[in-house]
């Protein structure tokens, strides 16, 4: 399988990365190089093989469903680029 310019632009849009025409054209070649490399996986017989979900056989540890953290709004917004009274600010999303 390989990607064309339209696919690269669609994937960039899904990934929320703005790409120029020139970048998109360069990426077509690069991505096809990588996709060509991974293509060899299709020759592996995986009949009856389960996909890996965990490298170590383990049951995920669970904790009691109680509040253990919080009350640190100042800390949470401390690194945000734009805030107002402990809210994150974003461009207007509702008309």
């Amino acid at each position: 399988m390989s990607v064309d310019l339209a696919t690269v632009k669609r994937v960039a849009s899904l990934a929320r990365i703005a790409v120029s025409e020139e970048e998109a054209e360069r990426m077509v070649g690069e991505l096809n190089g990588i996709l060509g490399f991974v293509e060899q996986l299709s020759e592996v017989d995986v009949n009856g093989v389960e996909p890996m979900t965990s490298v170590t056989p383990m049951v995920m540890r669970k904790r009691t469903d109680v509040v253990t953290d919080g009350d640190k709004a100042d800390d949470i917004v401390a690194n945000a680029p734009v805030t107002d009274r402990n809210f994150f600010l974003v461009p207007k999303v509702v008309e």
């Binding site: 929320r16 990426m27 996986l41 299709s42 890996m52 490298v55 690194n79």
Partner: protein, 493 residues
């Protein structure tokens, strides 16, 4: 007096405990070394002088009171991937511009709890994506090693290039690092240092910037096997904050050094003999086999038939997980923000400006292989192949093999801005061909220096062990180290 920065962790620990040296003097010696070397090597991207000296002062007080911890007063460098409270933490990416976390990663907290001193944050490939430390927003790290009679700048490997270079150049006593496809072991091999990627789950991932969550694992880079054992003991823990942290006691790894290899079975996988591999690497491998045989181990030929599929499967699984993990960098909660005409435009412009080329490439691949219509063909297939890769190892271990010996890398360190590698991402990816299988199977792997090539550059061997049997790796690597000796670069910086 011998230079303080030439002491290993084990040596410094003993001299600190016996009050022969002071933690403050040791830390100051490293800060001076960093100040004079960093312009040439670019290993540190942030130096925390004041914090280091105040931590060292506290160490001296605890040592005086006889209350020193296992790493009391030992100055360490920290890879920029670990969250350090109030200190530069950007995974060497522009998108985390100005980020100073309000929390400390579990691994670094463990080190501070044992008395270690933080010298600063170390350079790395952006988001740990790279094998040469050239994708860092802060520019490449320069390897302290040079080929004999050459001034050419060489890469230290990656992604933990800053960690490896700082350890090799004695700009810290030891360093933290992380390994997703070879990022501890390949730079260790390129710099003549020791690096261990422990079993997945051995070190907590809490507070470590995520790249590919099912593969990422923290570990140390150190000057020798003993120092690596001391550091891993402190870094590893059982952590309720990471659900993949394994509930097993952390052994005293140092105690395994010097144990006999008699009765051990070492596997030699024929699939690691790849086309175009320099003859010197094959020679080094044979030398390693001879050393282990001399030490009483039995050598057996083994086969790991799915080895060649590990790298392609990795380049589906890792980018897929990365594309998901890196979705959080949206210009809203932390780091860089580039304004746009609406929220989507803001996201797209922020991510375009904040991520470097290699990171964008991997996010794009990850997004593509997870997108509707391609998921089964790529991602599901890769996860099935991963099961087969792990099964290969399980069968070998089941047949009685205790550890596997392979080369660590297919070459020694290469030049900065190598044109062939820059033009072909896949050629750069091939650097991890011997290390990536270990991440795919979640196993522990150690790289130990074993010799120099004809250019005078270090080469390493890799040992792969059973899950949670890092002790076996330490004792076997120690035998190689005893036979090969240790390697230090000639100082030019």
């Amino acid at each position: 007096m011998t230079e303080l920065t030439s002491l290993t962790i084990a040596e410094a620990r003993d001299k600190l405990a016996s009050k022969e040296i002071k933690a403050v003097d040791l830390t100051q010696a490293y800060l001076d070394a960093i100040a004079s070397a960093n312009g040439a090597l670019n290993a540190y991207i942030a130096v925390t002088d004041e914090k280091a000296l105040s931590m060292a002062k506290a160490s001296d007080e605890r040592l005086a009171a006889g209350k020193g911890g296992a790493l009391e007063g030992i100055p360490l460098g920290i890879k920029d991937l670990f969250a350090t409270e109030g200190v530069h933490t950007q995974a060497c990416s522009h998108i985390l511009d100005g980020f100073k976390p309000k929390y400390e990663s579990t691994v670094t907290q463990n080190l501070w709890d044992d008395g270690a001193v933080m010298l600063g944050k170390l350079n790395m490939d952006e988001f740990a994506m790279g094998s040469s430390n050239e994708t860092s927003y802060y520019g490449p790290v320069i390897n302290p090693w040079r080929a004999e009679g050459s001034n050419q700048q060489l890469v230290p490997g990656g992604s933990s290039g800053g960690s490896a270079a700082a350890v090799a150049a004695h700009l810290c006593a030891g360093a933290t690092a992380t390994d997703t496809g070879g990022s501890i072991r390949q730079p260790a091999a390129f710099t003549g240092t020791v690096g261990i990627k422990p079993t997945y789950g051995r070190c907590s991932r809490w507070g470590t910037v995520a790249f590919a969550s099912s593969l990422d694992q923290a570990g140390p880079i150190a000057r020798d096997v003993c120092d690596a054992a001391i550091l891993l003991k402190s870094m590893a823990s059982v952590d309720a904050k990471d659900t993949t942290s394994v509930d097993l006691p952390v052994p005293d790894y140092e105690a395994s050094l010097g144990q006999s290899l008699k009765g051990m079975k070492i596997g030699i996988p024929k699939e690691y003999r790849v086309d175009g591999m320099p003859e010197e690497i094959e020679k080094l491998w044979q030398q390693g086999i001879a050393w282990l045989k001399d030490a009483g181990a039995e050598i057996v030929d083994i086969t790991l038939p799915h080895t060649k599929y590990a790298l392609p499967a990795y380049y589906i699984v890792a980018p897929a997980e990365a594309s998901s993990n890196l979705a959080r960098y949206d210009g809203v909660r932390y780091g860089l923000r580039v304004d746009g005409k609406d929220i989507t435009d803001m996201y797209e412009k922020t991510r375009a400006a904040g991520f470097g080329k290699e990171v964008k490439r991997r996010i794009m691949i990850g997004t593509y292989v997870l997108s509707a219509g391609y998921y089964d063909a790529y991602y599901l297939q890769a996860q099935k192949v991963r099961t087969l890769i792990k099964r290969d190892f399980e069968e070998v271990f089941h047949a009685g093999v205790d550890a596997i010996l392979t080369p660590a890398t297919p070459s020694s360190a290469f030049g900065v801005a190598d044109e062939n590698l820059a033009a072909d991402p896949v050629a750069m990816y091939l650097n991890d061909i011997f290390t990536v299988t270990v991440n795919m199977a979640g196993l522990p792997g150690i790289a130990v220096p074993a010799g120099l090539d004809r250019k005078g550059l270090p080469l390493g061997l890799q040992l792969i062990g059973k899950p949670f049997e890092e002790e076996t790796l330490f004792k076997t690597a120690h035998v190689i180290e005893q036979a090969a000796g240790r390697f230090s670069p000639a100082k030019w910086w």
